[in-house]
Symmetry: C2
Subunit: 338 residues, 2 copies
């Protein structure tokens, strides 16, 4: 086993050292007063993905800590990722998390022969699909902020695998978001749920780590999300169709898009004046390019600023159910204080 790569950095304002570096062949102007030094382990360049490409570039570099059990990756918030509150949209933050999660599954951190994409799973036609997602948002970053995402496997039972991500502002350490996603196993041909076979579970167990925080505590009441009945819905948005660019290479809708549709089906006054502080989502059904959906939402009777949601096909088949919790938008708060 090749150990994971290590990155180390050093820095100096010693002009003598600058002269040493000058000898490397770099032409330095006389006014340089600071040096940044980065050291790579040449024997083990970071693998960027399962196509075996390597990265020597100064961006979005993956780190593997805890002996390769945690994938860390930085994302710079781009202007087109902002929503009307001038903050990174939830969709953007979940996309970052998805990218890191896929790298955890597919990168060399979890070996190809091992847990992520095993021969054993292939021979049984088993694949992982997302079943449930639980998210808490502390703050939303702005344009130019750098979001550090760390993702690891935090749980494994015979029914599901949990992956956890923690997002923080890489400059300030401010907490941004916490995501726990549960993956279940289905048969690729029949699309039916499968128990995780004992051999696969055993080969996965060593990867599960109580790193950083344990998974969010499971409240039984929350685990069983109630289904929103149509007659209790305050708002129904009809005729939602996936766009061409919402489809992934498997021609399925990217699961992050479900969240966008659920938010789209929330009353405009909520989206405009509030920001999402937490949600739980259960995926019930895949959808593809010809699906036409409806997004229903209704205010909770019990908790203030809580909503229940149902995403369904036009024939009534359930695609996802969700619960969202909102707080006053920090932009609105700011404006009303001025």
């Amino acid at each position: 086993m090749v150990p994971p790569s290590k990155l180390m950095r050093g820095r100096s304002i010693d002009n003598n050292n600058a002269i040493n570096l000058y000898n490397f062949g770099t032409s330095l102007p006389s006014h340089v007063t600071r040096l940044q030094v980065k050291v790579d382990n040449f024997q083990d360049p970071l693998k960027i993905n399962n196509f075996g490409k390597t990265v020597n570039h100064e961006l979005e570099k993956r780190r593997f800590t805890q002996d390769g059990y945690v994938v860390g990756q930085n994302f710079l918030v781009r202007l087109y990722e902002l929503d009307i509150h001038e903050k990174a949209s939830l969709e953007a933050l979940l996309n970052y998390t998805q990218e890191t999660g896929l790298n955890l599954f597919q990168s060399s951190g979890l070996r190809v022969e091992g847990f992520g994409v095993s021969k054993e799973m292939n021979s049984r036609n088993l694949i992982w699909v997302i079943g449930r997602m639980q998210v808490e948002v502390d703050s939303y970053p702005s344009w130019g902020d750098i979001v550090q995402v760390e993702t690891w496997c935090s749980g494994l039972t015979k029914h599901c695998l949990t992956c956890s991500s923690r997002l923080t502002d890489a400059n300030t350490g401010t907490k941004i978001m916490r995501v726990d996603s549960e993956f279940v196993m289905i048969n690729e041909k029949t699309r039916r749920l499968s128990r995780i076979p004992e051999e696969i579970k055993a080969s996965g167990d060593p990867y599960v780590k109580d790193y950083l925080d344990p998974p969010l505590s499971v409240d039984d009441k929350l685990r069983k999300l109630q289904k929103l009945d149509e007659d209790k819905a305050d708002y129904i948005l009809r005729g939602i169709k996936p766009l061409w660019f919402d489809l992934d290479p498997n021609q399925h809708v990217n699961n992050v898009k479900y969240i966008s549709w659920i938010l789209e089906g929330t009353p405009e006054a909520v989206r405009e004046n509030y920001e999402l502080s937490a949600f739980t989502l259960e995926y019930r059904r895949e959808c593809g390019r010809n699906s036409v959906l409806q997004s229903l939402s209704g205010a909770s009777n019990e908790v203030p600023n809580e909503y229940y949601h149902l995403l369904r096909l036009e024939n009534g088949n359930e695609v996802a159910r969700a619960r969202t919790l909102w707080r006053k938008s920090s932009k609105i708060e700011c404006n009303s204080m001025n």
Copy 2:
């Protein structure tokens, strides 16, 4: 005037130098055999945006070359940016270009008091809006590829400002895409077109550079895009509505979304078997959250694999017109060779 930042890099496999660097205070393992050295000009750290944030992070670092007249930025293609051809979507590539263009306008490369966002423009309520975009695509990158975008001002007349971008694969130098965008000036209050005032043009002239390639040659026939008549349309997609996340902080639809809608209104067999090799788009009207649109397309009678497009509001008002040129998808080509 503060000179733009310079970045220089050096590299060595000389173990003596490693020892020199070790003295900087970094703990190096004994098996390190390569060093990467990066030198920043301490007096002028790179500004990341007009909020004055600086970046010391190893990602998506902006470079200013040609004395600050060109902004360069790298983007790593993320998995969720792929389309069904397993290549970065056009939408993703145009978003990269937009991000770099905004940095050209807003970064310290074009001073705040100068050309991009001048006091003079503010006092006259003048703003830049995009009027026309001309794109040529050589190849589409894959997951994990690093796209280098370089953007500069390539032309300025009393009617419009042209910004040009060239996208290449940062590892191989392969050409990816070329974009020329024309910006026109409108009055923010009346939304009417304005000539570019002589003083503003004069202050902008020094920024215009014949860098890399000159703007795409202007073919008069192409300049005047014909409007697609409804009775010549082969395909009409109705009921397109912007989603919440399509809106920017000004509550307008991000202009890249127009391209997505135009592609969405192209027959499915075209999108599925072909990839876009070039397009020209003229923006006619802004749209917002309550707009409902139609996307029309029709095959050209003159050029094979060429289509004309019209994006309009349901009341018939024109939003954009476009011309697209397609070639057999490289994925399809590949599959048919196997």
